[in-house]
Subunit: 352 residues, 2 copies
């Protein structure tokens, strides 16, 4: 079984400010894996983890101690802090999940093993260069359809698996306000590759990735305490990852698996966090859509540093926040390379 | 109800060589619409149409009489002849279906009204400029997710609705030979927009489109009698339509509705028809992927004529067949404009 095979190759990263009771529900699916818990907020608070889980826990004091001055790139009082967990992991794969996400049921009523589906997604190739109308051609019972070029059928390595949510959909504050009662009840039995050249809104609630392939680009930015915006952490990571994956010939899949998202966050609080992002994204999206990497960008790190320069140059005009973010992007890469000496992970990433 | 509203605005085009017994199964869904039957092969043969359907039927003699020397652009002994039906229609919308396609059932066991779903798809906007992870945001119970730029939420007009097939999947001959028993049993409850810049394999089996928006690009090429290839008619139309839609800011949707495809065609016969196409598509796809229209191309007709010149120049080197095809593309536009005087349809198309 795919998931059993990855027992020693995958960490589960959970950002939290509370006791992790939600893990009880995931016990049968998560218990065999190692957890990296990133405690947000007050470091003196004790987070309870149910018995029987294998975990390490980092609070703000730990982050400051490990990264020193470079800890400035890790957000505080925002779930964006989760990316610290990506950095300290030594595994090939990461699965990250929010602590208000429960096990969903498929249409037959069976519990969905989200992690197993993510592993399936990551272990088979992506097809970003041409759309297959029967979706993931590597799925059992499916294949490439007539007219799909044979030279493209090998696919490309999959770097990211983006899962979805039943019950509370991942809406922005304005949509939450307008449709407070909307629930996602539709189970779409499908995985597909986001085509090359197309951006998407990557949600960090239920997300897996290959950290050897794309880890250094999975930076969740500067959000929360002392920052002018929130709720764009995963979006920022998604836009950066997508353009880098497109450049390096890697794939991003979206669709299955679903988790059950239990609770809508407060739309009024969200609006306050989001409103600058809502303006800014109108300039950020064209920036990413028109972005091209130079030929020297042969590793994720090189791509990311070049991207940070462009962010400074082109988005710095939008708001000084982006100057700070661009610097933090560089700090993030320095911190990543400090904890993941380049002769190991980066060499792998660049050989793909 | 959407479908009732379009009663006078949609024609159903069916290419056939046999009696249309399959219409009995579609009676309750099709009876209110006008059918355009394009009889392929021996024109002296009589095609029986079940009582109660409103139809017009064209055989090869009719096509020759109506188009004169321009009838050379309409394929013979190949279902590509169906595009003649698109040309003689005077309606805004076309639905085309193969005569071996039956009514499929949804997971609850209910008969699927394919036409009604196509109309839904065509009547609401497409979103080619950014991927929405909950798929069609205009569907009931769905919306744009967090991080989707607000400036793109109006969408663009939908020109094409590409439906899928349960039972026999639309595989090429090599895949048919390797997987003779594979059946598509998975009902994916979803419609999505094919992103801008991404090509897809458009199948003509279960296809609807807005002929005012994209009709002149829906040419199914030269296939069958006297031609070196077959089974690339709908693919050709799909590639041309996609690049033109991308250029003109129109959308193409794929997914629901499903029909039940009853019978696999003979893979040995198919291999003979396809094998040149299998080679050629390796050059055709990069041609379309790198194609850019000039700014003068403000209507579908202008785009199509410019595309024909590029086909001649760039694909003519691949095989002389493409020189012939490029000429036929121009003839097709002349014939289209003859039957659809530009002051009516083209003016509409260019105003979008």
């Amino acid at each position: 079984m795919a998931s059993a095979a990855l027992k020693d190759e995958l960490d589960i990263v959970i950002p939290t400010i509370r006791n992790l009771d939600f893990l009880e529900m995931w016990r049968s699916f998560f218990e065999q894996y190692h957890l990296i818990i990133v405690q947000d907020g007050d470091p003196s608070k004790t987070i309870k983890v149910p018995d029987g889980f294998d975990y390490e826990l980092y609070n703000r004091n730990d982050i400051n101690k490990i990264l020193g001055p470079r800890s400035s790139c890790i957000s505080f009082k925002d779930s964006a802090c989760r990316c610290f967990g990506y950095m300290v992991s030594k595994k090939k794969y990461i699965y990250t999940i929010d602590d208000d996400c429960f096990v969903a049921k498929d249409p037959s009523g069976k519990d969905i093993n989200a992690l197993e589906q993510h592993i399936k997604n990551l272990l088979c190739p992506s097809t970003p260069n041409f759309f297959n109308t029967l979706y993931d051609p590597f799925r059992e019972g499916a294949d490439y359809v007539r007219g799909y070029p044979f030279s493209l059928r090998e696919g490309v390595p999959t770097a990211v698996s983006h899962g979805l949510w039943l019950n509370i959909p991942d809406y922005d504050a304005p949509t939450q306000l307008v449709k407070p009662l909307e629930r996602n009840t539709r189970y779409v039995d499908m995985v597909l590759t986001i085509p090359k050249g197309t951006l998407f809104p990557m949600c960090g609630m239920n997300l897996a990735f290959d950290r050897e392939l794309i880890g250094p680009a999975m930076y969740f930015g500067l959000m929360g305490d002392g920052q002018p915006i929130g709720r764009y952490d995963d979006m920022w990571a998604g836009w950066c990852c997508k353009v880098i994956c497109d450049h390096l010939g890697l794939g991003i899949k979206t669709g299955l698996p679903y988790i059950y998202h239990s609770k809508a966050s407060n739309p009024f609080v969200n609006l306050k966090k989001e409103y600058l992002g809502i303006f800014w994204q109108e300039e950020i999206i064209p920036f990413f859509q028109s972005h091209n990497f130079s030929k020297d960008c042969t590793t994720v790190q090189k791509c990311y540093v070049e991207l940070s320069k462009q962010v400074k140059e082109k988005l710095g005009k939008v708001d000084p926040y982006f100057l700070k973010l661009a610097d933090a992007m560089v700090t993030w890469i320095e911190a990543w390379d400090m904890l993941n000496p380049p002769n190991k992970d980066s060499a792998n990433a660049s050989s793909k």
